[in-house]
């Protein structure tokens, strides 16, 4: 029997080809099932890859504290020229350093919108006051020059590091290193340029966040003060925010969650309002991974249903085929084919059918992510296991849904089958 595997497969193809329209319609369910599994998984993998990369940039050892305007502030703010004071303070940073165990380093920072000029070029940027060990926690890299030093921080030196886009906008082709640029009313010497934006963000790239400029936090405090004045449409408000962000890097990755709770406790004691938020990238990572797992389950169920429907369609057609070919079955049995031979014949035909569906679906399923990447500029990742798995499942469907029709064919009484018109 195995002698003739080639011939049985050939016979199967012959029968599929003879009824090509019917075969094509029959396998559509499998084609779309397999295709959608591979394509949707590839798109999902790509999206979650991008999300995970962003979260990893934030640092899995890090706890990020951010100042936020307390919810009650809006109503208070209606009283004219009241000063709104909120957010994280230098004291908070000090307290965390002194009371939270296992903290490796703390990076406070402050961000001010300001416009920067060099010769005739003028750009609105985020001026970020940071500490020299910022690079240690931020996963960011210097492209040219160097970052702010401790000495410059102690001396409140007017030095700055540009993000690559700020550098490009201000200097186009010139080398920015050593040049003096004007930030508001003071001149700062450029000592370095960052690779990329210099900051990690949770959000997908937005235009604004990559125009950054880093100066010593001490310089920021003495040049800009703690008070921000907003003038908008006649009204006028003042805000006092000492720090916009504190990144706390914890020594042990396993201690991150616990440390975050300790920090929350410490901060709550000294803040009446909820004027800060705590972002734990590790938790975001877990959420993202859980989301991915869940969406894979949903995807898997949809795929399972469409493949099931496809399988039932194939079974339906095979049952019809068996009835149509009753006479042939009778003839083959009379000439000495065993029940087993008949089962092999019909089962291999069903597997060929579902396998061709799987193959077509696989080709489509690989092509679609490719097109999505090309036209929609989205990352897509076609996992080998999804391709192999989907194809394997299509073969399995052929076997599962082919068994009953093949069994029916084999169980026919040869004499009755021979008499069949």
């Amino acid at each position: 029997m195995f002698f003739h595997a080639k011939r049985i497969i050939f016979l199967g193809f012959l029968n599929i080809w003879r009824h090509r329209l019917r075969s094509t319609l029959t396998i559509l369910g499998i084609v779309f099932g397999v295709c959608s599994v591979i394509a949707m998984l590839a798109i999902g993998e790509g999206a979650s890859f991008e999300a995970l990369e962003q979260i990893k940039q934030l640092g899995s050892h890090n706890i990020i504290l951010k100042s936020v305007k307390p919810p009650s502030s809006e109503s208070v703010n209606t009283e004219t020229n009241r000063m709104l004071e909120y957010g994280l303070t230098y004291k908070d940073a000090e307290r965390i350093k002194n009371t939270v165990p296992g903290v490796e380093v703390i990076v406070p920072s402050r961000t001010i919108r300001a416009n920067v000029t060099y010769r005739k070029k003028r750009v609105d940027v985020n001026v970020i006051g940071v500490v020299p060990w910022y690079l240690q926690v931020s996963n960011q890299k210097i492209k040219k020059g160097r970052f702010i030093s401790i000495l410059e921080t102690d001396d409140h030196k007017n030095v700055c590091v540009l993000s690559s886009n700020s550098a490009r906008r201000l200097f186009t082709t010139e080398s920015p290193l050593g040049k003096d640029i004007k930030v508001k009313s003071d001149y700062y010497t450029v000592i370095g340029v960052m690779e990329g934006s210099g900051v990690a963000t949770q959000e997908a790239k937005t235009g604004d966040t990559d125009l950054n400029l880093f100066i010593p936090l001490t310089a920021a405090k003495s040049r800009f003060g703690d008070i921000l004045v907003n003038r908008s449409s006649g009204s006028f408000s003042m805000e006092k925010v000492e720090l916009h962000q504190i990144i706390v890097k914890v020594q042990e990755i396993t201690a991150v969650m616990a440390s975050a709770e300790v920090i929350r406790g410490v901060l709550k004691r000294f803040h009446k309002d909820i004027d800060f938020e705590i972002i734990v990238p590790q938790r975001l990572l877990e959420q993202a991974e859980r989301f991915k797992r869940n969406s894979n389950i949903v995807l898997g169920s949809i795929a399972a249903i469409s493949l099931l429907v496809g399988g039932i369609g194939i079974m339906n057609i095979m049952l019809a085929t068996v009835t149509e070919r009753t006479r042939e079955i009778g003839i083959r049995r009379a000439l000495g084919a065993k029940k087993r031979d008949i089962i092999v014949q019909f089962l291999s035909e069903t597997v060929l059918l579902s396998g061709s569906g799987g193959l077509l679906g696989l080709i489509l399923g690989i092509t679609i992510p490719f097109l999505v990447t090309y036209f929609a500029d989205m990352i897509t990742i076609v996992k080998i296991w999804s391709v192999g798995g989907a194809f394997g499942i299509s073969l399995l469907i052929g076997i599962v849904f082919g068994i009953y029709p093949a069994y029916r064919a084999a169980q026919m009484d040869p004499i009755a089958a021979l008499r069949h018109e």
């Binding site: 011939r7 012959l14 042939e328 049995r333 009379a334 000439l335 000495g336 029940k339 040869p414 004499i415």
Partner: protein, 231 residues
Amino acid sequence: MSIVEVIDLYKEYPLGDHTVEVLHGVDVTIEQGEYVSIMGPSGSGKSTFLNILGCLDQPTQGKYYLGGTDVSTLDDNDLSDIRRERIGFIFQSFNLLPELTVVENIQVPLFYQGTPEEEASERAADLAGIVGLGHRTDHRSNELSGGERQRVAIARAMVNDPLVILADEPTGNLDSKSGQEILRLLDDLKEQKKTIIMVTHDEEIGRRTERTIRFKDGKVLTGPRMPAKSL
């Protein structure tokens, strides 16, 4: 040793809540190389008997020895083996596979025997030549005339070199000219000392055989066991 030895054979079919007894107590012995015809009125059980001889069906009671083997107790698998190795069937309605070519049809039994393909198609082509279809080996069988189809069927019945060739009204669907050609081929087989058992309604055809077994109501009519030719 007889090729076919049937002893007190019964066959009944369940029909609703009772059974129809089609064969009751058939005894037949056929020797190697005999050319035997089976005749009798319609419904007398000839085809039923032939199907049992061909191991397509099993007796309800009684013994059937084919080439010395008791086949009345075998299971479906073993019966398939016997059909494949020892029986050659020729049907009234040809029963070829319409989508296959002449050569492919002839080699179907070899396919199930596991004969290597080249050997099988060579043998099939030879047989196509013997039955006079050497020029049509690659035609699909549904492109052939009735007489040609039956010649393919004869070639197919010979391809496994069977112990017996069973023919159920082989000329029943043919015009007399094609029928004569088929009978001539059977005569040739007889010359080669093949054992042939043929069901027919035609007395004239019956006279071409060496012996006629007459059926009536599921029984063999007893009488002088003499060759039909001398009647």
